[in-house]
C-alpha cells in the first residue's frame, strides 16, 4: 500500500468518524450512523472522481472503503458517549481528514492529467465536500462558514503538493509535506483561533444599520454559544 492509498483510507476513516459524531449529535439510530459516516467518508472522493471522469467511482470496485465506514460507524455508536467533547473531537478528526484529502485529491488530479490550477481545485474539493455533505444533510451550520481558517488549510496543502510535485519532488515526499502543512494550519486555527481578516463593511457605513443587517453576526454568536455548549 503506497502513501496515496494510505492517505485515502485515513481520509475515509476520519471523515466517516466525523459523520458518525454528527449522527450522535442528532441522536440517530445505528443505521443513521452508518449512513452519515458513509456519506461523509466517501463523499469528497466521489465528487472528485465524478469530475475527473473516473467512473465507476473508487468505492464501487473496492468494497474495503465501505467496510471501513461501516466499522467506524458501529464503533462510534457504542463508544461516542465516552467522549465528553464530541464536537471538538469532530473538528479535529475533520482537520485530519482535510489534511489527508487535500494532498490525495491534488495527486489524483495530477495523475488524471489536470493542469496545476485544476489539480489544486480537485484537492480542495476532495478535502471539503465530504464535510459539506455531512453538514447539509445533518442540518448543522456549515463548517465553511466558521470564522477561523478552514478552506485556506486545504488550499495550502493542495497548492504545496502540486508545487512540490512540479518542482520534481516524489509523490510521497510532496504528500507528506502537504499533509503536515495543512494539518498544522487547520490545527493552529482550531487551537489558537487563527483567522484571516474577514471581509469588513465600509468604515464610513453606519455600523448600527449595516452590521446587524447581515445576519452573520447573530449567526456567529449563536455558533459560539453552540460551541461552548458542545465543549461541555
Amino acid at each position: 500500500m503506497d502513501i496515496l492509498q494510505m492517505l485515502d483510507f485515513v481520509g475515509v476513516a476520519v471523515f466517516a468518524a466525523t459523520g458518525a459524531l454528527a449522527a450522535s449529535r442528532k441522536q440517530l439510530d445505528i443505521i443513521g450512523f452508518v449512513f452519515l459516516a458513509s456519506l461523509t467518508g466517501i463523499g469528497g472522493g466521489t465528487v472528485r472522481d465524478l469530475i475527473l471522469g473516473q467512473t465507476p467511482v473508487f468505492w464501487i470496485a473496492n468494497s474495503a472503503y465501505l467496510a471501513v465506514c461501516v466499522a467506524v460507524a458501529v464503533l462510534l455508536y457504542f463508544t461516542a458517549p465516552l467522549f465528553e467533547y464530541r464536537y471538538r473531537l469532530l473538528l479535529w478528526l475533520d482537520a485530519a481528514g482535510l489534511a489527508a484529502y487535500c494532498a490525495m485529491g491534488a495527486a489524483k488530479g495530477l495523475a488524471a492529467g489536470a493542469p496545476p490550477l485544476a489539480a489544486v481545485v480537485t484537492g480542495v474539493m476532495t478535502a471539503t465536500f465530504g464535510g459539506i455533505l455531512r453538514d447539509v444533510v445533518s442540518g448543522e451550520a456549515s463548517v465553511l462558514l466558521r470564522r477561523e481558517i478552514y478552506v485556506t488549510a486545504a488550499l495550502a496543502g493542495a497548492s504545496l503538493h502540486v508545487a512540490l510535485t512540479l518542482a520534481g519532488a516524489g509523490t510521497a515526499l510532496a504528500a507528506a509535506i502537504a499533509v503536515a502543512a495543512a494539518f498544522a494550519v487547520r490545527g493552529g486555527a482550531l487551537r489558537f483561533g487563527w483567522a484571516l481578516p474577514g471581509y469588513r463593511h465600509l468604515p464610513g457605513r453606519p455600523a448600527g444599520k449595516a452590521l446587524p443587517a447581515e445576519g452573520a453576526t447573530a449567526r456567529t454568536s449563536a455558533r459560539d454559544a453552540a460551541d461552548r455548549r458542545d465543549l461541555r
Copy 2:
C-alpha cells in the same frame, strides 16, 4: 416493460408527487411544482447513474421520465388542495418511492458489475437521494433526521434484493420481495412509529446539561409540532 422498468417509472412518479407536495407546502407557482417534482423524481436515479458511470443519465435518452414528472406536477398543482393531510400523503408516497427505488437501484448496481456491498449502497442511494435533494432545496427538515425508521427500510430492501439475486432468485421475484419488505418496514414506521433505539448519551452524564445541548431534542419537538400542524 419488465419489472425493473416498471419500478423505475413508479419511483419517478411517486417521488415527483412528493416534490410537488413539497412545492405546495411552499406555495410555489406551477413552474416551481414542475421543478421540484423533476428534481425529486429523477434525482436519486441520476446520482446512481453518475456513480456507476452510466452517462448520459437515464432521463436524457428517454424523455418519458421527464414527461411523467411534468404531468404529475401539473396534476397535483390543481388537485393538492383536495388532500387534507398533505405532509402525511407526502410521507406515504415517499415510502412507495423508497421501496421501488431501493430494489431498482440495487439491481442496476449488480447489472453494472458492482460487488454486493456496493450494489446495496447504490440501492440505498437511489432510494434516498431524491428525497434529500427535495428537502434541501425546499428547506424542509430532512426526512433522514426523523426518529422513526427510514434509511433502515431502504437498506433492508436493497440487501434483500442483492441476497436473493446472489442466491439465484430471478430479478422479478427478488425485486418483488424486496419492494414489499421495504414498504412494509417503512409503512410500519409511519403507521406505528417503529424506531430503532436511538443513540443515547452516557447515563452518568448530567442530563440537564447534555441533552438540551445537542439541539436534537428541540429540533425534534419542533418537528413534532410541525407534524401535528400538518395533520390538520
Copy 3:
C-alpha cells in the same frame, strides 16, 4: 471565441460575483470569497457536464474559467463595500447569469445529442444549480423559493433556444433571443415583482388554521424583512 463560449465566460463571471457577494454577506475571509465564487461560477456547468457524460468537466482542461472566478472574487473582496445594496446587486447578477446559462446549457444539451425536452432541462439545470449550491452552502434562503418568477425565466430561455434551433435558426441568433427573453422575464420579476399565481389552499379551508401552518408565510415575511434590510 464564438457566442456560446462568450456566454459561458459571462455566466461564470457573473455567477462567481454572486458567490463572492454571498461570501461578503457572511463576512468570510478572502479564501472564502474565492471558494464560494468558484462553487457558484462553475457549479451549474459542472452538473450539466456530469449529466451529459462530458468528463473531465469543462474547467479541468481550460484553467481560464477558474482564473476568472479567482479574479472576480479578489476584486469583490476589495470593492464590495462600495456597493450599498449588495443583495439587490447579487440578484441582478444572478439574473444575468441565469440568462446566459439557460441558453448555453440548452445548446450544449442539443450538441450532445439530447432530445428537445432533455435539452431544455439541461438548460434550466445549468442556469439554476450554481445558485442552488451557493444558497445551500452559504446558508441563505434559496432563491428558488422566492415568490416572484425565477425558474420560469430559465425555462422560457431554454425552451426558446431549443425551439428556435429546431426551427432552423443559427445558434448565435437563437442564443441571443433566448438570453434576451430570459433576462427580460427575470428582470421584470425583480423590477416589477412579476409572479405567476402561487398555489393556493382550498378556499373552503379555514385560513386561520391552514395558512400559518404551512410555514411559507412566516418564511416569506422573514425574507421580505431581510430584503428590506438588504436594500439599505
